[in-house]
């Protein structure tokens, strides 16, 4: 049962690298949608079948697989996608950083005192690697929409860690968190549209009006 879950987690790791390396925002959005769908299926693989788990799966599939990518694609359509913006350290720098942090995540996770039943699973290292990849994407990308995708990777990484704890997280809180995430992405999408109208670009490094005067 768990070999399938582990294979899916490897896919999650590959998608991280894909998102860090891709030039096209549309590809990144589709990749994050696929990652969301994998995340939705994971609870079914790692837990005994319960109605609780099934409901979470449906929620996650709808939220991360359908709703959020749809919101992001909608935001992308409204902004002129013309110019390509190099990440601050370039695409290869991005991929290298992603690879290095993935390795570090595995080394670090091996040192953590895990519960007996979770030893040898890919869950913890994948979770840490995805969180770190999210941070790289946020820090190294300049377009607001790519930063949102980074934030989603961060959230996905946290969700993977949450798989170890489905018993502790009540359904209501989990559903509430997903709803908040959707609302958050919705608001971010609106802000992105406004940014592109005000600055005629969504390059956040151009936003420099607010800083301390020298």
């Amino acid at each position: 049962m768990n070999t399938l879950a582990d294979q899916l987690l490897v896919f999650v790791l590959l998608i991280n690298i894909l998102i860090l390396g891709t030039r096209r925002t549309k590809v990144a959005i589709r990749a994050i949608a696929v990652q969301g769908i994998i995340l939705g299926l994971l609870p079914l693989m790692t837990h005994e079948f319960q109605s609780h788990i099934l409901i979470i799966t449906i929620f996650v599939l709808l939220a991360k697989g359908v709703c959020i990518p749809w919101l992001l694609l909608g935001a992308l359509k409204k902004i002129e996608s013309g110019e390509e913006l190099q990440p601050i350290f370039g695409y290869s720098g991005n991929i290298m950083a992603g690879a290095v942090t993935t390795v570090l995540a595995f080394v670090f996770a091996a040192k953590l005192p895990l519960a007996q039943i979770h030893l040898g699973l890919l869950t913890v290292p994948t979770s840490l690697a995805t969180i770190l990849a999210g941070f790289i994407a946020i820090a190294n990308r300049r377009k607001a929409i790519n930063q949102v995708i980074g934030y989603l990777m961060l959230e996905n990484g946290i969700f993977i860690f949450g798989l170890l704890l489905t018993e502790a997280m009540p359904l209501m809180v989990e559903a509430g968190a997903l709803l908040d995430l959707i609302a958050g992405i919705f608001v971010m999408g609106l802000i992105i549209k406004q940014i592109s109208r005000e600055f005629s670009s969504i390059d956040t490094s151009r936003m420099t009006a607010l800083r301390e005067e020298e």
């Binding site: 953590l112 005192p113 895990l114 519960a115 969180i131 946020i138 607001a144 930063q147 934030y151 961060l154 959230e155 946290i158 860690f161 949450g162 170890l164 704890l165 018993e167 502790a168 997280m169 009540p170 209501m172 809180v173 509430g176 968190a177 908040d180 609302a183 958050g184 608001v187 971010m188 609106l190 802000i191 406004q194 940014i195 005000e198 600055f199 956040t204 936003m207 009006a209 607010l210 301390e212 005067e213």
Partner: protein
């Protein structure tokens, strides 16, 4: 039952505000809901039903104090909003009124939540609903501020969630059934594995610290406070920042009964002192009054962190300062909103001589500044005095001395801006705006100021008991 009403009435108000079509009648929903909420809060504070073990929702002493502060501040902002929004007829206030009410509901939920996941959810919701309010002015500067606010706070809150998950996982590693109920975690805390607990603490400190605006995660704060209307600034500084503080306090309740207390205490003191130092330096060269208030908020959030780290006697001060800081921020932000309206600027180069242009507002701004910086007879004087005496009597001489130095620096920095704004000569070359002091624009901050003065001199018996009880909840059991 009472608690359910407290959460749902603002929501019903939000729905009503969303449905009302007229921009002039809509703001009236705010004071109505605020009045009902405040009355119910006072009843809820007086009642103390027995706590059922492992319940998700319970209003304890800490929650009561936060709830009182939120409700008072909201009532002041609500009355102020009615008149303020008449000056801003160029924009629809639908989103502002609705967002305010949803935010009140979420803040109420945060005060009663004893399940860490539920608390997190409430805090996350407050962050979200305030984002469109920061963007009220709809210009390039405010969109930049909103983006920073949204991105940085979302990341921070996400990290806090990871911390909460680590905390839950530590219970599994220790062999307990996983739980996120505050009281259960407190019971487990002495035997939870140190690595996971420390990691959870650091993540939650960073996460809730972002929301509070502790340095170095404070960067969104001057921008958001600077570009938002004064009304929204008051809610951000006295409401949302305090929600982050509530999260941090709940975390302290758990961690302070674990063996590694010293680690947690030094983290809090270190981060707090760094925030105060950074804020004092930036206060010295600040020309924009709202950005100045943002740095003052960073400074006071740092003060909270230091006091939580000191523990012992300082905790009584923390609870007093919670009310003092929240209400004083309300006075200052509402007054700064008036100054902004009166001069059509919030920079001290232009907004000079408030005392002559709008005497009530000018006087309020000056008194608010004195209250905020801990001058007698206002409440923050009492709490800051307690911090100092706790620091020196509990052997933290260096921390205490640094605190004294930095607070003087912060006072000077704020005075450099406040004095020209209040006493300077009004600029002659600029056209006069339509603004003039009215009862509803000056009354609410004045009431808050009077409350601060009274509480600074005399703490009523029930409030004293509440503060003592709340401080006891935070005390380290080791």
């Amino acid at each position: 039952m009472l608690i359910l009403l407290l959460i749902n009435i603002p929501l019903a108000g939000a729905l009503a505000a969303w449905l009302i079509r007229s921009d002039t009648r809509r703001p009236l929903v705010l004071p109505v809901v605020a009045g009902i909420h405040l009355t119910l809060v006072i009843r809820a504070i007086a009642a103390s039903p027995p706590q059922t073990p492992d319940s998700w929702i319970y209003l304890d002493a800490i929650g009561k104090l936060f709830l009182l502060e939120f409700s008072l501040l909201f009532a002041a902002c609500a009355c102020y909003a009615v008149n303020y929004l008449q000056y801003r007829k160029e924009r629809s206030n639908q989103v502002l009124c609705t967002g305010f009410l949803v935010c009140l509901s979420a803040m109420t939920l945060a005060t009663v939540a004893h399940h860490l996941g539920l608390l997190w959810l409430a805090i996350e919701t407050t962050t979200l609903v305030m984002a469109p309010l920061v963007y009220f002015n709809r210009n390039a500067r405010s969109i930049e501020a909103t983006w920073k606010y949204m991105l940085i706070c979302s990341i921070g809150i996400a990290l806090a969630l990871l911390g909460i998950l680590f905390l839950a996982y530590s219970t599994i590693v220790a062999g307990f059934p996983p739980s996120l109920i505050l009281e259960t975690l407190q019971r487990y805390a002495p035997s939870l594995p140190g690595v996971w607990l420390k990691a959870a603490f650091v993540l939650m400190l960073v996460g809730y610290g972002t929301k509070m605006g502790l340095a170095p995660m404070h960067t969104w704060k001057p921008d958001a406070y600077g570009e938002a209307p004064g009304l929204v600034g008051a809610m951000l500084a006295g409401g949302l920042a305090n929600c982050g503080l509530l999260g941090l306090m709940r975390l302290c309740q758990i961690c302070m009964s674990s063996p590694a207390v010293h680690f947690y205490q030094s983290c809090l003191i270190g981060m707090g002192l760094f925030s105060i130092a950074l804020a004092s330096i930036f206060l010295l060269r600040q020309t924009d009054i709202k950005r100045m208030l943002a740095y003052s908020s960073v400074e006071h959030m740092g003060l909270f962190a230091v006091a939580l780290g000191l523990g012992g006697k300082a905790l009584f001060g923390v609870m007093l300062h919670l009310i003092g800081n929240g209400l004083a921020k309300g006075v200052l932000f509402l007054a700064s909103g008036n100054i902004h309206r009166a001069f059509a600027s919030k920079n001290r180069e232009v907004a000079r001589g408030a005392l002559r242009r709008a005497p009530w507002t000018g006087a309020l701004f000056l008194a608010g500044f004195l209250a905020m910086t801990g001058s007698p007879p206002f409440l923050p004087f009492a709490s800051e005095y307690i911090f100092f005496s706790a620091a020196f009597s509990q052997g933290h001489t260096i921390t205490g001395s640094l605190l004294a130095l930095l607070l003087v620096l912060a006072f000077l920095g704020m005075a450099l801006t406040v004095i020209p704004v209040v006493f300077g000569d009004p600029p002659k070359d600029r056209q006069r705006t339509k603004y003039h002091d009215t009862a509803l624009l000056v009354g609410p901050p004045l009431v808050l100021l009077i409350l601060l003065g009274i509480l600074g001199l005399w703490l009523p018996e029930p409030l004293f008991r509440l503060v003592t009880e709340a401080a006891k909840l935070l005390e380290a059991t080791r």
